[in-house]
């Protein structure tokens, strides 16, 4: 039923070593499933209260009780990482989801109806793309004030044009298929055609892009919290922990090494998942 001749698979990584998509997906999902489990089960598995201050444990080195050591206020680094991961994942994933919820219908409408609907939606969203992401986030926060909800909102707005554009391109390709025209000819309404035929078939590339963007969202959230513009203390966040430990980096490197490593692992999880999904759902490279 779907398109007959698929163009040859075009990897964005031209010249890169080729690996099976399943290995990427497996690795990415394993990492993310583990991190998600840790974040969800935080109250059960955190060895200590992440906010409890202990003057006797200031900058304590890692030991059996405190595997990642303790920070400037004697708080357990491992517990703070577990809770911080929770905050960071919550902000970045909900930002990308919020962006998706708006981007999918906008992209569908723009790609399906074309003409003035397309130009109105596309030109408006292009205005956001003119500015670098970090600058936009900072501008947003300059207006609404620091905080995790505002940071999530800022990230959602930044990724809206990117996701909507991918959905639009993907819709354009799907809408050209004969089965779409056939459905219209049989008297189906635009809404019915969009929901039952176009949307399900155009969804692949945008999911891939959302996974890739989650990796960037995570870094952006950590960066904003590092600047003191994202998640606010005392709520632990991975970026905030890095900012807190900066002054004592040389005496107590564990305060900085472990939260950063967790960010890197989470970013790798989303990147691998996105790359694996791309090879399955977006062989044409629409999302690029």
């Amino acid at each position: 039923m779907t398109s007959t001749a698929n163009p040859p698979a075009k990897s964005l990584e031209v010249g890169a070593p080729r690996r099976a998509p399943s290995r990427f997906i497996l690795l990415g999902s394993l990492i993310l499933a583990f991190l998600a489990l840790v974040a969800i089960a935080a109250p059960l598995i955190a060895p200590h209260d992440p906010e409890s201050v202990d003057v006797h444990r200031v900058l304590g080195a890692p030991d059996l009780q405190h595997p990642f050591g303790s920070d400037v206020l004697g708080r357990d680094v491992a517990s703070r990482i577990i809770y911080g991961l929770r905050a960071s994942l919550l902000v970045s994933v909900s930002a990308v989801l919020a962006s998706l919820i708006l981007a999918v219908p906008l992209g569908l409408l723009a790609g399906y109806f074309g003409r003035w609907v397309d130009s109105t939606i596309s030109r408006t969203l292009d205005l956001i793309l003119v500015f670098p992401a970090m600058l936009l986030a900072v501008t947003f926060i300059a207006i609404l004030g620091p905080g995790s909800v505002i940071a999530a909102l800022a990230i959602a707005v930044i990724y809206l044009p990117i996701l909507a554009r991918v959905m639009r391109t993907s819709t354009l390709i799907v809408a050209r298929n004969d089965y779409v025209a056939g459905s219209r000819a049989r008297g189906a309404s635009h809404l019915r055609v969009l929901v039952t035929h176009v949307a399900p078939n155009a969804f692949g590339p945008v999911i891939v892009q959302a996974s890739v963007l989650s990796a960037f969202a995570l870094q952006l959230e950590a960066g904003l919290s590092f600047l003191g513009l994202g998640t606010q203390p005392p709520t632990p966040s991975l970026g905030g922990m890095l900012a807190d430990g900066r002054e004592v980096l040389i005496q107590a490197p564990w305060v900085e090494i472990f939260p950063g490593l967790v960010i890197v692992i989470a970013v790798l999880g989303f990147t691998f998942l996105g790359e694996g999904l791309r090879r399955i759902f977006d062989p044409r490279g629409v999302g690029e």
């Binding site: 964005l12 990584e13 031209v14 010249g15 890169a16 070593p17 205005l127 003119v130 500015f131 670098p132 992401a133 970090m134 600058l135 900072v138 501008t139 926060i141 300059a142 207006i143 609404l144 004030g145 620091p146 990796a215 870094q219 950590a222 960066g223 590092f226 600047l227 003191g228 513009l229 970026g239 890095l242 900066r246 980096l249 040389i250 490197p253 900085e256 090494i257 950063g260 960010i263 890197v264 970013v267 790798l268 990147t271």
Partner: protein
């Protein structure tokens, strides 16, 4: 040639609405602050007279259109207003801060290009091990957040080896060697991620050119690999590489906001972050305006270079 000229003119004209939209967004920053921005700026101990005075000085007691016209007019005359904390003229503050940001982003981009382009060419044309190693570098560069990389570099070079200062700044004119020593770690931090993106793009662009029939033809003619790569493949891959470099300047400017704060470099990015934390809106506006203007100008230059490298772009086609 006249088509080229037409393209340049059209592209220059397009910059005007971009600058206009940007100026409106920046203008609205202070007006969109929930509640009373003047009260927020001055704190709750401010008297009503203080509030009224600052509101009048910022022009917030006029109609929105008058406010914009007054603000934009002053900007065009070079009057950027005053910092509400230090009372220093913002034009002067910006003149001190901009060179730091220019030096940081300029050196980072230079390093990223010098590393990314040759490695990208090698990755596209080299053997299996070269491909694996460069791929590992790309994944590393893209996945490691720049601020954490910076922290680790400080730990290694300033903490363990003690050969570089962890943070700080001296102007180049005062102490050139000292200035460069302070710049090494921030530049390395910013350049690593950029080099990874440039490597990936170069690899893709050169790789796809190498598959084209004219390369096979050149090979059949007996032309050496080096000459094919540097004389033909890279020339054809140029526009894509330059486009990505232009886009990445924006990412670099965003990264500079974090890196300047981290390494205590007195640049525009740090000015903005401090401004936000102090609710110093006029300074935040001027800082964001400066960064966005640099980005718009760089995008313009990038498009012009691409059109020059690939004249088909000016005809509306192109690669």
């Amino acid at each position: 040639m006249s088509r080229q000229l037409g393209f340049i003119l059209r592209r220059l004209l397009l910059t005007i609405p971009m600058l206009f939209v940007m100026s409106v967004v920046v203008f609205l920053i202070i007006r969109l602050v929930p509640g009373d921005p003047v009260r927020t700026m001055l704190g709750f101990r401010a008297t009503d007279a203080n509030v009224a005075e600052l509101r009048h000085r910022l022009g917030l007691d006029q109609s929105l259109l008058d406010q914009y016209l007054g603000w934009a007019g002053a900007l065009l005359r070079g009057d950027l207003g005053k910092d509400i904390v230090s009372h220093a003229p913002l034009a002067q503050l910006l003149a001190q801060r901009l060179p730091v940001t220019f030096e940081l982003t300029g050196l980072s981009m230079l390093l990223a290009v010098l590393v990314g382009v040759p490695l990208g060419v090698r990755a596209a044309t080299g053997g299996r091990w070269v491909k694996r190693l460069t791929e590992a570098f790309v994944i590393f560069g893209i996945s490691v957040p720049d601020f954490w990389l910076g922290i680790m570099l400080v730990l290694i070079f300033a903490g363990t080896l003690v050969i570089l200062p962890p943070s700080g700044y001296v102007p180049f004119a005062t102490d050139p060697v000292g200035n460069l020593r302070y710049m090494v770690l921030p530049v390395l931090t910013l350049a690593t991620g950029e080099a990874a993106y440039i490597l990936r793009t170069t690899r893709g662009a050169v790789g796809s050119v190498m598959n084209r029939p004219f390369i096979t033809f050149l090979r059949a003619k007996g032309i050496g690999t080096r000459r094919i790569i540097f004389g033909h493949a890279l020339r054809n891959a140029g526009p894509s590489i330059v486009t990505v470099i232009g886009i990445q300047v924006g990412v670099l400017l965003g990264g500079a906001i974090i890196i300047e704060t981290m390494f205590a470099l007195p640049g525009v990015g740090r000015l903005v972050v401090t401004g936000i934390n102090q609710r110093n809106y006029p300074t935040v506006q001027v800082g964001i305006l400066a960064i966005a203007t640099i980005f718009i100008v760089v995008s313009l230059i990038t498009d012009l270079i691409v059109a020059w490298l690939d004249p088909r772009v000016a005809d509306g086609g192109g690669t």
